[in-house]
């Protein structure tokens, strides 16, 4: 590790969450994961520990990537934050509110897009807007804004099967943003897309994040993707699933792959993955 990336030097810099007194953390915006573990019984009734104790604080507006090999529990952790999976111990707070179920302002984006195939692009977005008790005119304005944000003007009335994978995922992102979420949880959102589309969508996600400043937790298994996107990379390892390293990145965006710092950081993350 001759060329130490700038990021590694700032590894000790605490996030705002870590500096706040305990009683204030309850009111804090962002995500607080406290003492979370997850174990379950397998088919032979043997306890399997999927996640050993996880403590992590994610500041409001921060872009965090969870990276790790399969079986490291990164998706389990995301599902616990999302409220789909109940932790065995510990708790998760989002903007100070304890996570007990899905919803509650946690926007989800899935690898499989998960659009409602019976609704058009704008119909999918409007479906989400309908949960917000807005009048029809406001919904229409917001839906049009979101369509503009994801660059799908002219495709409003297309059904999902008429859209490419990249377009479908854009609609899914807009649908998640339509609930005006506190956080955006993305589960390998670009995993099902081809290389070129993935590249474009990474740029789009950064642009949308810059415009909305939503807290993003982004699960990926791509080192390149994590290095390009994240403020901090949380590296997880298996057996049992745990956080093995947290790597903050201070290289300004856009982070070109020709940049020596970016290359060095990629190598560092790769090494951390083992």
């Amino acid at each position: 590790m001759a060329a130490t990336p700038r990021s590694a030097q700032s590894a000790g810099a605490a996030t705002p969450a870590q500096n706040a007194p305990a009683e204030l953390q309850l009111q804090m915006r962002g995500i607080v994961i406290e003492n979370v573990t997850k174990s379950y019984l397998d088919a032979r009734n043997i306890t399997v520990q999927a996640l050993s104790t996880i403590d992590l604080e994610i500041a409001s507006g921060e872009f965090v990537c969870l990276i790790g090999k399969s079986g490291c529990g990164k998706t389990t952790l995301l599902n616990i934050i999302a409220g789909f999976v109940t932790p065995s111990t510990g708790r998760v707070l989002v903007d100070g509110e304890r996570v007990t179920r899905p919803g509650q302002g946690k926007g989800m984006v899935f690898q499989q897009f998960a659009l409602f195939p019976w609704l058009t692009a704008i119909g999918n977005i409007d479906f989400a807007l309908k949960q917000r008790n807005l009048d029809k005119a406001t919904r229409q304005t917001l839906a049009a804004e979101l369509i503009g944000l994801i660059g799908l003007k002219g495709f409003e009335e297309k059904y999902p099967y008429q859209l490419s994978g990249g377009m479908q995922q854009r609609v899914a992102i807009a649908r998640a943003l339509a609930i005006d979420p506190k956080v955006l949880l993305m589960d390998e959102p670009l995993g099902a897309l081809d290389e070129l589309t993935r590249d474009t969508l990474q740029a789009e996600i950064l642009r949308i994040w810059a415009a909305h400043r939503k807290t993003i937790v982004f699960v990926t298994h791509s080192v390149t993707e994590a290095v390009r996107l994240a403020d901090r990379i949380v590296v997880m390892s298996a057996g049992p699933g745990r956080i093995s390293q947290i790597i903050p990145i201070s290289i300004p965006r856009p982070r070109l792959r020709t940049n020596a710092e970016v290359v060095a950081l990629e190598e560092m993350v790769q090494a951390a993955l083992g």
Binding site: F84, G107, M108, L115, W118, F127
Partner: protein, 271 residues
């Protein structure tokens, strides 16, 4: 490839013209056989009237309005019974698909019911409901119910869990979850159940009307047989065939237009 197996149509007609051609050819063949059987006195003439006699009977029945009245009565029965069976089938199917407890309770009953030929219910239907409308509605609703409840249950079970998670992440209230997500996502299977249910209901309608009714097309057929009007019997058979094809086509169209318009297979334009 077509040439190698010896089929080489130098002029390609559109598919519907080809279908129409084969349909016309089949109809002509049947008419020819039928006429031949009448000509060679295969059975005595009064037992097998020729095409001309049947057409004349058809004209008489149509002009007198009797055919229309019978059709109206039969179709009203079929539609009402089917609607009742479909509504119960879809609601119970969704509950079965979503709640394991409901499935455990209902699945054995449904399994048992589906092994019983619907016609076997006719005696009980008459005893319970008489030969009035209620017995026919019961039989048709029961017949439609079984394939529809099975298809709905299967459709709900097969909903992509990620789609349900997506909906739950949007804080969808439970009533919209039912009507806006579960029902829609299961619709391709429900549609299959509806079509099968319709075909089976159509069959049981005619059966029930022949055994226990004082009106309708089935009854028309039986009465014609009893008074020796075999021209009307044959007319009734042919008319039922046409009616069955026509109503199935209408149902298929309505499903494609209103229930599955978003479904890939129903949109030729974009394929």
């Amino acid at each position: 490839m077509a040439q190698t197996i010896g089929i080489n149509m130098s002029i390609r007609f559109p598919p519907f013209v080809q279908r129409l051609f084969f349909l016309a050819a089949a109809a002509a063949l049947i008419l020819a056989l039928w006429s031949a059987m009448v000509a060679i006195r295969f059975v005595p003439e009064n037992l097998l009237p020729g095409p001309a006699a049947v057409m004349q009977a058809g004209w008489q029945e149509a002009v007198s309005g009797r055919l229309l009245v019978s059709t109206e009565i039969s179709m009203l029965r079929l539609c009402s019974g089917f609607a009742i069976g479909a509504a119960i089938g879809v609601v119970l199917g969704i509950l079965m698909g979503l709640a394991p407890v409901v499935r455990m309770a209902l699945a054995p009953i449904v399994e048992l019911l589906r092994t019983i030929p619907p016609l076997a219910w006719i005696p009980l239907a008459i005893i319970w409901f008489g030969i009035g409308e209620a017995s026919k509605l019961f039989l048709i609703a029961l017949t439609a119910f079984i394939p529809i409840v099975i298809a709905t249950d299967r459709g709900v079970k097969q909903i992509d869990p990620v789609l349900m998670r997506a909906a739950r992440s949007l804080d969808v209230p439970s009533h919209r979850m039912m009507t806006g997500v579960v029902l829609k996502a299961a619709m391709p299977d429900i549609a299959t159940g509806l079509r099968l249910g319709w075909t089976l209901s159509f069959a049981i309608l005619v059966g029930a009307e022949m055994i226990a009714a004082d009106a309708g097309i089935g009854h028309m057929l039986m009465r014609a047989m009893n008074v020796g009007r075999f021209d009307i019997v044959i007319l009734g058979i042919l008319f039922l065939g046409v009616l069955s094809i026509a109503t199935d086509a209408i149902l298929t169209f309505l499903i494609a237009r209103f229930l599955l318009h978003w479904h890939m297979g129903s949109d030729k334009e974009v394929q």
